[in-house]
Amino acid sequence: MFGVVLFYTTSAAIRAEKLLKGAGLAVKLIPTPRQFSSDCGIALRFDWTEAERARALLNEATVDTAGTHRMG
């Protein structure tokens, strides 16, 4: 199962990707799933088992996110 983090800007998404990849998490930037947002931007997909770690890392680095969702 995957989780997906949404962002307000692409720059924040890329910053988050760099941060989580650097910490060894398996992440991928994907087009924002339409069920979560009507935005045309990108979102960061991660392995749901690493949700806590992802959230902690993003919080610590004060990356501005627009919410985290679970994807089937």
Binding site: Y8, T9, T10, S11, A12, A13, I14, R15, E17, K18, L29, I30, P31, T32, S38, D39, C40, G41, I42, A43, D64
Partner: protein, 382 residues
């Protein structure tokens, strides 16, 4: 050919810059921030990498507060026109470039109150004179970090406490200094730093930006351009988030890729090493020119107070004639005239004729300087 016009634009560029630009077009040609596919995302990564490199270079705490613009002039316009409202007081120096003076004069017609603090004839600025002009309630101090005509360095770090004590912000025009002088926006207290990518930073033309300090309330800094950002597409209002608030429209990805490589080159070589190299050449130019009869060299004598921009005139000779002969007879490329800075030329007493300006760069060699000096001497003596 000897290229001594590095204050207009640096040339040549490091090979890494050309490679990064070709790589962007070949491998990452998507539109950054617009789509979710790999070409768009890779372009976005490259643009973000450039923000990080610039944040490192200027010691800016947040890469997302580095706004890319097409050039330094647009960055200055964004800061000036975004911040100043009718009735606001703004103070600038007497050696500002037209990229500052023209927007300020237009704002003055709309009711902004402008005070210009004169500089000394060598282009330096006395901090106490600046302090006198900055009354409480002043909105902004604008300072040219270094003059593009005579190379004088203005005391920006000293101006920061003056600005902040009056409740003003400090905007620094780093067109002539980014890449050539150390700049630390936090230690120097710079609230807004406008830079260009194609001069001392050694990047391609079409790049520049504005570093927005943490002390600037972006709610009070209006965007210059509004439009698509790839974010908040459902809204017809401009987003408030940075950098999107100030970066509408497709960015110059290929230029920014080149700029990122250029900034990394500059940081690897080291600002101090670059400064030493450029100032050794500039000192040789100043000394050599001063030895030629009828030549006047402008700017501070103390090399710690100046950059490598060297301007001179020859009594009884037109600067345009000297420039033409330097190129035609000796292959020396320079810039003559007013250099878009009439205020600076009035300060040093060379308005309206202007000066001949010789500016060595990172890739200039001492032999180039010697050849240029021989050329000037021959022209003067003939």
């Amino acid at each position: 050919m000897i290229y001594l016009d590095n204050a207009a634009t640096s040339w040549p560029k490091p090979p890494e810059v050309l490679r990064a630009m070709a790589d962007f077009l070949e491998r990452a040609g998507g539109n950054p921030g617009r789509s979710g596919h790999r070409l768009s995302v890779e372009a976005g990564r490259i643009v973000y990498g450039a923000r990080e490199a610039l944040a490192d270079l200027f010691n800016a705490p947040d890469p997302l507060r580095i706004i890319f613009t097409p050039n330094g002039t647009t960055a200055l316009n964004l800061a000036l026109r975004g911040l100043l409202r009718p009735g606001d007081r703004v103070v600038c120096s007497g050696i500002e470039h037209n990229s500052v003076m023209r927007p300020l004069r237009a704002l003055e017609r709309q009711g902004v109150r402008l005070t210009v603090v004169p500089c000394a004839p060598d282009g330096t600025l006395d901090l106490s004179e600046l302090s006198c002009a900055v009354v409480p309630g002043t909105r902004l101090i604008v300072l040219n970090h270094a003059g593009n005509v005579m190379g004088s360095i203005l005391p920006v770090a000293g101006a920061a406490p003056v600005a902040h004590a009056a409740g003003a912000l400090l905007l620094v025009d780093a067109a002539q200094t980014a890449g050539s002088l150390p700049i630390d926006v936090q230690a120097d207290g710079i609230d807004l730093l406008a830079f260009t990518g194609h001069k001392g930073l050694l990047g391609p033309p079409g790049t520049g930006g504005l570093v927005i300090g943490e002390g600037v309330d972006v709610g009070e800094l209006e965007p210059l351009v509004r439009g698509g950002t790839g974010s908040y597409s459902e809204h017809q209002e401009q987003p408030a988030d940075l950098p999107d608030r100030y970066e509408s429209g497709t960015p110059n990805g290929v230029g920014i890729a080149g700029l990122a490589a250029a900034v990394r080159f500059v940081m690897e070589r080291g600002i101090e090493a670059i400064r030493q190299h450029e100032m050794a050449l500039a000192s040789a130019l100043i000394d050599g020119l001063s030895d030629i009869p009828r030549v006047t060299v402008y700017g501070p004598r103390d090399t710690t107070e100046r950059t490598a921009v060297v301007s001179f005139t020859v009594a009884g000779r037109r600067v345009s004639e000297i420039g033409l002969r330097l190129e035609d007879e000796f292959g020396v490329l320079c810039r003559v005239g007013l250099h878009c800075a009439p205020a600076a030329h009035r300060t040093i007493g060379t308005f309206p004729e202007g000066t001949v300006r010789l500016v060595p760069g990172v890739f200039t060699m001492m032999d180039d300087v010697r050849a240029a000096l021989r050329a000037v001497r021959k022209i003067v003596e003939s």
